[in-house]
Symmetry: C2
């Protein structure tokens, strides 16, 4: 959907925060929980849409819906440590994750995650 | 799915039967009835599949199923008069159309349709 970023790549990872072992465990649990909730939501919506199919066009609407959800989930759930604060920021903004679930991450990460959440709130459609 | 035909094209339409006005009406009715039944079947199957979704993979299985059905229907229901005897032959073979529904077509067309139905019976998976 979005066009490629116009910002030139900085040297990779130069400002990337390190993740301790305990932080990695917290991140993985939070990430998996959000993904699970998102899948649950898509499954419920797909069942609902399917139950309401009446016309052939409704079939292809469902197909399109599933394709878009699959692509969106693929893009959104990027578990690279270089991307995680942004990913968590988006999930926080979308209400798919609570700050509570991120407790135990270092303050600089939480601050970064909140900044991304605010950015998403500002620019999201 | 199938590879392009190895048979060289003959000059288009040189042996194409003409369709009278009444034959066109019969063909359109039969074609639309078969398509409607096929859509009905896909709708029922899609609803059934959706109702059984448990895991995320099931979502993408449903997406794939819908994509394949859409492509197959697009390929199969080709209402060009140059293609109709073959199309009806296939629909007859698949049990989506009865000979009864083709009554009123000229004998040469019915013969051609039956030949295609036999061909499909012989070579279909």
């Amino acid at each position: 959907m979005s066009s490629p970023s116009a910002t030139p790549n900085t040297y990779p990872y130069q400002n990337e925060p390190t993740w301790s072992k305990s932080e990695k465990a917290i991140a993985r649990t939070a990430f998996d929980a959000a993904l699970k909730r998102e899948f649950h939501q898509v499954i419920q919506e797909a069942k609902q849409k399917a139950s309401q199919i009446k016309e052939p066009e409704d079939l292809w609407d469902l197909e399109h819906y599933l394709t878009e959800r699959r692509k969106e989930i693929d893009r959104k759930y990027d578990y690279r440590y270089s991307q995680l604060t942004q990913v968590f920021g988006r999930l926080l903004h979308e209400g798919r994750l609570s700050e509570e679930e991120l407790r135990g991450l270092r303050d600089d990460k939480l601050k970064s995650i909140r900044s991304f959440a605010e950015l998403f709130a500002k620019y999201a459609a």
